[in-house]
Amino acid sequence: MAVMQNTSEKSKWYLPGILTGMGITMRHMLKNIFNKKEMITLNYPEEKYEYSPRFKGNHILTVKKDGAIRCTACMLCATNCPADCIKITASEHPDPHVEKYPIAYEIDMLRCVFCGFCEEACPVDAIRLGPEWQTPGLNGANFTYDIKHLAYRPGLKGGIQSVVDDQERLKSGI
């Protein structure tokens, strides 16, 4: 790529340009100092921007009213996952109305491409992509999220309840 160089006489007078530039900087600095409310940057990471709940970030496993995992371990998310990052181990639930449930549900976040296909494949609204996305980690941090983290991590405050309720479904005879 060729770079255009201004070699005119006028350009040798650089001082006014610098001063104008510094003036603009100064103006913004003063504005930010005296009128903090209108400041458009954030003090990241102390302050964080609140994303829309519809943002496709880290996965959440939703729970039923009683706090149990909603997932039925149908493995449609794992089937649909283009990154092959979901691993589910199913088992027989003691309650015959539930029948099948996951005893292990792991998502390898480093492989995940956040496409949201899992959310779309889910027939029972058990997995959602949440607004949370800033989950940095140091060397050795575990990026394979297990079922506890996905459903009950502190940020979810005891789990996200999904809209469809089993009792109501049973009542309406679905």
Binding site: T72, A73, C74, M75, L76, T79, D84, A90, S91, E92, P96, H97, E99, K100, P123, V124, G173
Partner: protein, 532 residues
């Protein structure tokens, strides 16, 4: 045998010749014509209850069921007309109106007759707006099978199976109308040696196997055909596996050997194949110390070094009828030709019960290849008795151990017996912790072997039928086949098949146990229910 006369008929515009007395559905199957059906099964009597196999016969105003209509000379049949398709669509809708549609948690999803026919005739919205009939779910029928009555379409295949094939009569249909349910009588669970066949023939997810229940979705599995090594019948089976291992075994139709069925024992045979039960590393005991991280090949080479110079009565070989003819021939000829000995012994666990037969499939001889072993012995002129073997007198004892340990009741005792040898070389696919724990051993090598699904070969069954099968998949890749181990023991190198780099990325050369995304999509078409 007298040849059956052929008669002419036309099915879907194709002129065919079929055996006299065959039904329309049989004629269609023999000629690769598609027809929907649930209750008809070639191995069972005709029930005629699902009413899905409707066909139009020229000259007959009413649709007829193909399964109970015998082909007559000059009959013109079709099952593609609008009237038939409409009938099949409604037939399917009648099946579906009270079906719970819990495909997400149903193990049959992916190989379900209802799903298949829905894709064929359905793809419509149900007009049923009323409440569905509630029935029992998760009914424990017996030690092997779980029933979900809501999914059941009452095709009565399982009932007919227990009446006609296993002749145990455990199952029945209780109540009538849309309250009808499959069930067992109190205190009489579905407990027979063929009970899991009912799961195979169930066209929907009503009967599920406790063993396979919830372990895998079927579309994650691939299948390949092999021969069961559970007993000397040699049933043809399909093994379902993926990269995590083998998950289930189902019968494959072979009218000469097993018909449509297999026993429940044979279905458990996959278990010793999976990694958790396998000998993965070679072990070597030297100077009172076990080296347990040896590669299989290295262990075999070590063993061959320790055997150097051994000949005649110094050395003995013990084999079982659990390996293929090719393998047995390789190891026996190594001993006969390289070590110049005929001290080869047949370790036969079930000699006393070998002639037992339960009248259906199960045989007393729990080795798939006893006949083959006897033929190999005859070929090499070996006539020894196992009772003559005294390991204490033998310097080097090579044992090719069985794969299916549970059927070798005296297994641990025999291991202790073999451990009396000065130098024991034990080849095995199964874990032998008791051998490693045995303190009386002086010098020993354990060489991991491959199991029957990891190699191609031939089994000769009780009737002398020789069945060649191909490798299904690889579970423990570094284990050796007996052929390879025999070559190494003889001091030769084994030939490792290498792929031409040019062909490496051609689909046909993909390793068999890789389940790729492509394959998952393909699997949807591989599973064809009702074509056992």
């Amino acid at each position: 045998m007298q040849q059956q006369p052929l008669i002419n008929c036309t099915i879907n515009g194709v002129a065919l010749q079929v055996k006299a007395g065959s039904t329309i559905i049989e004629a269609m199957y023999e000629n690769q014509q598609k027809i929907a059906h649930y209750c008809w099964h070639p191995g069972l009597s005709i029930a005629g209850v699902c009413r899905l196999c409707m066909v139009q016969i020229e000259g007959n105003p009413r649709l007829q069921i193909a399964c109970n209509t015998v082909v007559t000379e000059g009959m013109k049949v079709n099952n593609t007309s609008d009237q038939v398709v409409e009938a099949a669509k409604w037939g399917l809708d009648f099946h579906l109106i009270n079906h719970p549609l819990d495909c997400p948690i149903c193990d049959q999803a992916g190989e379900c007759g209802l799903q298949e026919q829905y894709m064929e005739f359905g793809k419509y919205n149900s007009e049923m707006s009323e409440k569905k009939q509630k029935k029992h779910k998760v009914v424990d029928l017996g030690p092997t099978v779980v029933l979900d009555s809501e999914r059941c379409i009452l095709c009565s295949r399982c009932v007919r199976f227990t009446d006609e094939v296993s002749k145990t009569h455990e199952l029945g249909i209780f109540n009538r109308g849309d309250h009808a349910e499959i069930g067992t009588h109190a205190g009489k669970p579905l407990d027979n040696k063929y009970s899991l066949n009912t799961v195979d023939i169930c066209p929907v997810g009503a009967l599920t196997s406790k063993d396979f229940r919830f372990r895998q979705r079927v579309w994650f599995l691939k299948d390949a055909e092999t021969v069961c090594n559970g007993c000397s019948t040699g049933c043809n089976v399909k093994v379902y596996f993926n990269k995590e291992g083998v998950f289930r075994v189902k019968p494959k139709r072979n009218d000469a050997i097993n018909g449509h069925w297999m026993c429940d024992e044979g279905r458990d045979v996959y278990k010793f194949v999976n990694k958790e039960n396998r000998q993965i590393k070679g072990h070597k005991l030297a100077n009172g110390q076990w080296h347990s991280e040896l590669h299989a090949g290295a262990a075999a080479k070590d063993a061959s070094l320790s055997l150097q110079g051994a000949t005649g009565n110094d050395i003995a070989l013990v084999v079982t009828g659990q390996h293929t003819v090719e393998e047995l021939d390789a190891i026996v000829s190594t001993f006969v030709n390289t070590y110049k000995t005929k001290n080869v012994y047949h370790w036969w666990n079930s000699e006393a019960t070998a002639s037992e037969f339960d009248g259906i499939l199960l045989r007393g001889d729990k080795n798939p290849n006893t006949k083959g072993l006897q033929q190999v012995f005859a070929k090499h002129g070996i006539a020894t008795k196992f009772s003559d073997l005294d390991p204490a007198k033998v310097k080097h004892l090579v044992v090719v151990g069985p794969e299916n340990i549970p059927v070798y009741k005296d297994f641990t005792a025999k291991l202790e017996f073999f451990a009396k040898a000065q130098n024991l070389i034990y080849m095995t696919s199964a874990k032998v912790d008791s051998l490693v724990a045995n303190k009386s051993l002086k010098s020993a090598t354990i060489i991991p072997l491959k199991t029957y699904i990891e190699k191609s070969g031939t089994f000769i069954n009780h009737a002398g039928v020789s069945q060649t099968f191909k490798k299904v998949t690889t579970v423990v890749s570094e284990a050796l086949t007996v052929v390879e181990a025999a070559a190494l023991l003889a001091g030769q190198e084994i030939k490792i098949e290498t792929l031409n780099p040019k062909n490496l990325f051609v689909a046909a050369n993909k390793p068999a146990d890789q389940v790729t995304l492509d394959f998952r999509k393909k699997n949807e078409f591989i599973f064809q229910r009702g074509k056992l």
